[in-house]
Symmetry: D3
C-alpha cells in the first residue's frame, strides 16, 4: 500500500529533526481553554496529548470485541492536535470570530506543512477530524475524558472557574464506546460530590 | 495469553481515573537534569514523553526489515517514565547518593503501585528497563534523541549550560538502530555549527 | 455631529464596566511576537499600548505645523489594539495560515462587539486600520517605535532572539512623520553599536 | 504660551528614547497594593495606567456640560504615575514608615528627572497631584474605579484577600463627577452580590 | 578539643566559596512537602532555615534555667537541612519508596561531602539528627513550629490543601521544651478559629 | 544585665508568632538590587540572610585570636535586614530619591515595631548599623561576600548584567577582617577569569 511504502523508505535524519522541533512546540503552548477560565499556567498541549494517550490506550486495551487496532489508536492520539504546533490552541471565542470554515482550512494547511514528510501521520490526523472509525472515536472520547479529569483536578485545587465544562452536554457524548459511558458517569459523580461537599463544609 | 486476557476484561472506570490521575502528575514534574544545568522552567516529564513518542514512532515507521511491533514501541514509550509519577525525576547526583540498587528497587515499587491494574503496561515498563528487544531499544534511543534535541534548543535560547550533554559518549550509543546513528550525527553536527557560530559572530 | 451626540449621552455605569472588563484582558494577554522569538514572559498588550501612547503623545507634541489633533492621536492609540481583547494577539504565522481576509473580518467583528456602545472609539479603531490621517499615521509609527525600542531592550537583556525585527525594512517606514525618521535612525544606530560591541567584547 | 512653545520645538530622538525607556519600566513594576493582599503576579503599573485611561476617556466622553478638555484628561492619565518609574509603587506601609512629606518630595524629584524635557507633561503630573481641575478629578476617580474593578476581578478569581478595598470610604469619593457616583454604586452592588453568592452557594 | 582546633586553623577562601556555593542551592530548592499539597511556588529550603533560626533563637533566649548554649542552637539550626543541598528535599512518598535506611545513608553521604572542611558543622548536623541534646531539641521543635506557622499562612492565602499538617500528632511533640508547648497550642487555636470562620462566613 | 533579664522572661507564644510572621515576609521579598540589573526572580531577602549566616559563621569560626563572640555574630546576622520585613528592600535609586536621613529614620521605625518585644535583637540591629564591633564587622563583610558570590553565580547563569557589582571599590572593604581580604581576592580572581573566558571562547 502506498502509505505503508512511504513509511518504509529509509527516512532522513533532518526530516525527523524538523518534525520533532515542530511537535516540541506543543510543550510551550498552553491549552487556552483553561486560561479563558482563569487557570494560570495551565497544562501544555503536549501534556494534554500525553494524558489523552494514557486514556486512549486504556480504552483500547479494555474495549470488547471486535478489538480496535491499538497501533492506530496510538498514532491518531499522538497526532490529533499537531496542527496546533503552528496554529496554536485558538480559544473558542477566537475561533467563533474567525469562523468555522476559515479555522478548518487553517488547520488543514498547518497539518499539511507539519506532516508533509509522514503521510501516514497526515492520514491519522484526518481520520481523527472525521471521527468515524472506531479508533478515531476512541481518541475523541479520550480527549474529552482527559479534559474533564483535568477540570476536576483544577476544581479541587481552586484554580480558575471550570464548572462550565460539566454543563456542556456534547462533552459527554460516548460516541458508541461503552467504557467511555462508564468513565463519564464516574467523572460526573465525582464532580457532583465535590460541589456538594464544598457547599456544606467549606 | 494471561496478559492479554486481563487486558480484555471489562475494566473499571475508577481504575482508569486512578491511573490517569497518577500519570497526569508527570505534567507538573520537571525534568530535573535541565534544572541542574540552570535551565529555569524546563520541560515537564509529560512533555518529554510526548517528544519521545514522536521520535519513537518515526523510528519505528522507518525501520528496515524486520519491522518492529509499532504498537509495542508506542506502549513502551508511553510508560517508560511512569514510575517518576511517584518517585519524581531524581537528579543524577541524588541517584548517586542513594545508590543504584536502592533507586532500582524504588522504581520497581513505584511501577508496581501505579501499574498494578494494567499488567501489560507493567510488562512494557520492565521491557524498557531491560532494553533488549528491538522495540525497547528504539524507545531507548528515542529517549536520547529527544534529550539532545532539547539540549540544542536550550543552547540556542541561551537557557542554562547544557554542553555537558554533548560530551557524554554513552548518550550517542545507537543500540543497533541504524536510523538513530544518522540522527545522532545530525544532532552533533548542528551542535558543532552552533558552537563555531557563537565563537565567531556573537 | 452624530458621533459627538452619542458621546454626550448620559452613559451607563454597566456599559463602562463591560468595556473596562474587556479592555483589561489586554493585561493578561502577551505580545506573541516576542514569544515566537523565545522571549519568556514578554510585555502584555496593555503594556505595549501604554508605551505606544507615550511615543504617540511625544510625537504629537513635537510635530511641526500643521499640528495634529492630540486628543484624536491619544484616542486612536488607546483603542488601536482593542480587538485583541477578544481575538488575542495572533502570531504572524497563525495569521498567515488563517489568511489576511479572514483575519481582517475577525478583527472587525471583535471591534464591533467590544466597542458597540462607544461609536467614537469604534471610528478611531477604523481610522487606525486605514492609516491615512495624520493622527493615524502618528500612532502607526509610534507602534513601530515602541516595538523596536522593546526589541533593543530584550537584546540587551539577552532575552530571546529579536534580531529579525531590525531586518524588516517595512518596520522603518516613517509614513511621512519627520520625527519618526530621526527616531528610527537613532534606534538602528543603537542596535548596530550593540551588535558591534557584543561581537568584540562579550 | 511658554509651555506650548517648548512642546512645539523640534524635539530630539534621544530625548524620546530616554523618556520611553523610563516609562517602559512601569511594565515590569507591580502594583504593590495587590501583593500586600496576597495577589501573586498582579497587574503592572503600566497595565493599571492603561485601564485608567480607558475609564478616564469614557468619563470624559460622557461628562455633561461644561465638557472637560479631553486631551488634558488623557495627558494627565498617561503621566499620573510616571514618578513610579523611578520611585516604584511604594506599598502603603512603607510610605507610612517614610512619612508623607519625605515621600512627596521624592515623588517630585522623580518627576523632575523623568519629565525634565517635557514640561507640559510635568505640569500635568502636578495638576493630578493637586487634584483640583475637572480634568484632574476625572483621572482621580478613574484611578479608583480601575482599582475597584480590579479588586472585584481578583475576588472572583480567588486571588488574594482584597476585601479591604471595599471597606475604605475615601475610595468611593466621587470628587463631583456624577458619572463616577453611578459607577461606584454599580461596583459596590456587584461586590455585595458576589459576597452573598459565595456565602450561600460556594 | 580537636574539633575546636580545626576551626581555629587559618581557613581557605576557596573552601568557603565551595561551601557557600553548595549552601546557596537551598535558595533554589523548594520545600516539596508544600508542592505535594498543591502549593505553587512554595518557600525555598533556605527561607525555611531562616524561619527556623528565628524561632530557635527566640526559644533559646526565653528558655528557663538551665540555659541552652545559644551559639550551638544557632549552629545546629543553620546546618540542619544542609544535606538537602545535594540530596534535595525528597518528598515523603519518595522517601517511603526508597526506604528509611537508604535515605539515611544518602543524607550522611551528602553531609560528608558538603561539610568535609568544617567538622564542627558536621558534628552539629549529627547532633540534630540524634535529637537528644537540649540544643538539638530546641531546633527540632523550631522546625515544626515554622512548618505549622507556614501551613497556617498558606491556609489563609488559600494556597494548596495543608490541613493534613494539623492532623499529624507527632508534629506537636514538644520534646520537653515548655515554650514549644505554648506555641503549638497557639498555632492549633488559630487553625481551629480559621476553620470555624471559613465554614460559617466564607 | 537588663537586656539579658528581659530575654529570660517567660515569653509569650503570641509574641513569637507575631515576630515570625513578620520575619517570614522576607521570604516573599526580592533583593531588588538584582532586579535593577535585570535578574528575573532573584533571591529573596530571607535567602540572602541565610547565605550571610553561612559566611559569617565560617568567618567567625576561622577568625584568629582574639576570638569573636560567635553567638553575637549569629544574632547580628539573623536580624541585620529585619527592618526590610516592613520597609522592603528599597532599591538604591529609590533611597537616593528619598534621601539618606529619611531612609535611616524609616529603618529605625521599622526595627522598633518588629523587634519591640525582643530588645536583645533590637540592640543587635543597631550594632550592625553602627558597624564598629568585631562581630558587626564580620557580618558586614559577610553581607558583601554573599552578594559578590551571588553576582558571580548570576554572571555564570547569564542572568542580568551584574558587572557593576565588581566595579565598586567600597564593596571590597575588608573592615579589618583578614580572612575577608582573602575571600574578596578569590572572588575577584574568579570574576576576571570568567570575563576573560567569555571574551575568548563564548
Amino acid at each position: 500500500m502506498g502509505m505503508k511504502d512511504q513509511n518504509t523508505s529509509p527516512g532522513d535524519a533532518e526530516e525527523l529533526l524538523r518534525l520533532l522541533s515542530r511537535a516540541e512546540r506543543l510543550e510551550a503552548l498552553p491549552r487556552t481553554g483553561w486560561q479563558v477560565c482563569g487557570v494560570e499556567r495551565p497544562e501544555s498541549i503536549a501534556a494534554h496529548v500525553h494524558g489523552v494517550m494514557v486514556v486512549a490506550l486504556w480504552l483500547a486495551d479494555h474495549h470488547p470485541e471486535p478489538k480496535p487496532d491499538v497501533e492506530r489508536v496510538m498514532r491518531i492520539a499522538l497526532v490529533h492536535d499537531l496542527s496546533e504546533a503552528m496554529l496554536t490552541d485558538l480559544p473558542r471565542p477566537v475561533k467563533q470570530l474567525i469562523g468555522k470554515d476559515a479555522v478548518d482550512r487553517a488547520e488543514d494547511r498547518a497539518a499539511d506543512r507539519i506532516l508533509a514528510a509522514v503521510p501516514a501521520w497526515r492520514q491519522a490526523f484526518d481520520e481523527y477530524r472525521q471521527g468515524q472509525t472506531l479508533e478515531a472515536r476512541i481518541v475523541k472520547v479520550a480527549d474529552r475524558i482527559q479534559m474533564l479529569a483535568k477540570a476536576l483536578e483544577y476544581r479541587q485545587q481552586r484554580r480558575g472557574d471550570v464548572e462550565r465544562f460539566f454543563d456542556d452536554h456534547d462533552t459527554f457524548d460516548d460516541r458508541g464506546i461503552p467504557l467511555a459511558r462508564a468513565v463519564f458517569d464516574a467523572l460526573r459523580t465525582r464532580y457532583e460530590e465535590r460541589r456538594w461537599f464544598d457547599a456544606h463544609f467549606d
